[in-house]
Symmetry: C2
Subunit: 190 residues, 2 copies
DNA sequence: TGTACATCAGTGAACGCGCGTTCACTGATGTAC
DNA sequence: TGTACATCAGTGAACGCGCGTTCACTGATGTAC
């Protein structure tokens, strides 16, 4: 039963968004193609009408995730001073809500340690994602020359990603909340 | 061919150390038991004479890794002022050498995002590892009341782990070196 | 605008492969006397 | 201390299972006239 071009494009989007969610939820290696396709309401056989391989899906769904993430970050700052916009991003990134909903949060924190072993195409997507993340923060740092602002923004991304990874690792909720708070404070008063 | 008690204990140590290395190198999900046993010079059938399951091995090898890591950190500070000891730990943790040798570096940075999905026993080991890491840094922070020193130490661990994750993700060596340096500077001048 | 045919999105079964785990077997080690 | 037997570390083959990928098939969609 061939589908129309519009429906085909919609299916592709659906697979992409479902994969982005499933990978952040359960990890890339631990998420099978059948799992993604079933979660999208399809059978796994049709996968290869849309993507060349699992690696292709990983790369493209990550690109999608980064685009949405940075769009949201940019949008969260409109009408605010640089400082307020920065605080809004940091407080949102390191919030308990983001910690508990890996499936719609930052892929660097959700998949960080396994992305190192991804293929070249995915590594490129991730590298450029890190660069974009730094740029977004740098633009919100005033009263500092560009070079120093970039260095500070880079370190802030380190603390954001690491703080979220640790908050999710720890099995005590109180400790986890403290990690989020301590890391937020450290970033914002530096 | 039964082995002596001494040999048996040695084999167990060998498997534990080999696993600790392989898991940090290739990830837990992506490392099979046969791979670990072969790397230790054994056949995979004998695995269950030493461990109950893969999860058991993961949990015990992580415990081992943390013990060695923190022992080294403590040792690196003897005969130094608190401040120098702290700087030594931070500079060593975020060095290019540690970045390039995942197999003998910190498991939080090497396995961070996939440990979230580990079993309870492993989660306990990891949680207590995070706590010990914070304690080690806190002891090296002077001129701050205990509560604030702990908060600062917690945020420092976030930045250390996140900085190393990012430095390993990025596919440009110069950018990676900058991430390490910017994160080190941020932590030490905060 | 209508008809005839080619295209192809999605299904469901199958493939080879590596996984974690089990097991019969071996022979040196450990134990009981 | 020496002998007889039980134990068990390690081997290598086998298990059921889920993985990524392929393929024959279907019928609605798209294209050519």
């Amino acid at each position: 039963m061939r589908k129309s071009r519009k429906e085909t494009a919609e299916t592709r989007e659906l697979i992409l968004n479902t994969a982005a969610r499933e990978y952040r939820q359960n990890g890339i290696a631990e998420t099978g193609l059948a799992e993604v396709m079933n979660a999208a309401g399809l059978t796994h056989g049709g996968f290869y009408r849309h993507f060349e391989s699992k690696e292709d899906l990983v790369s493209q769904s990550l690109q999608r995730t980064f685009d949405q993430l940075f769009e949201g970050m940019d949008a969260s700052g409109v009408g605010k001073t640089a400082n307020d916009a920065l605080a809004a991003i940091v407080n949102h990134y390191l919030s308990p809500g983001q910690r508990d909903h890996f499936e719609r949060a930052c892929p660097l924190a959700a998949l960080g340690s396994e992305l190192r072993r991804a293929d070249d195409s995915t590594r490129d997507v991730v590298s450029s994602g890190v660069g974009q993340f730094v740029s977004i923060l740098r633009k919100r740092i005033d009263r500092l020359p560009p070079r120093q602002a970039k260095a500070k923004a880079t370190a802030m991304v380190s603390a954001l990603v690491g703080g979220m990874v640790l908050a999710r690792l720890v099995n005590d909720r109180t400790v986890s909340n403290s990690i989020l708070k301590d890391t937020r404070d450290f970033i914002l008063q530096a």
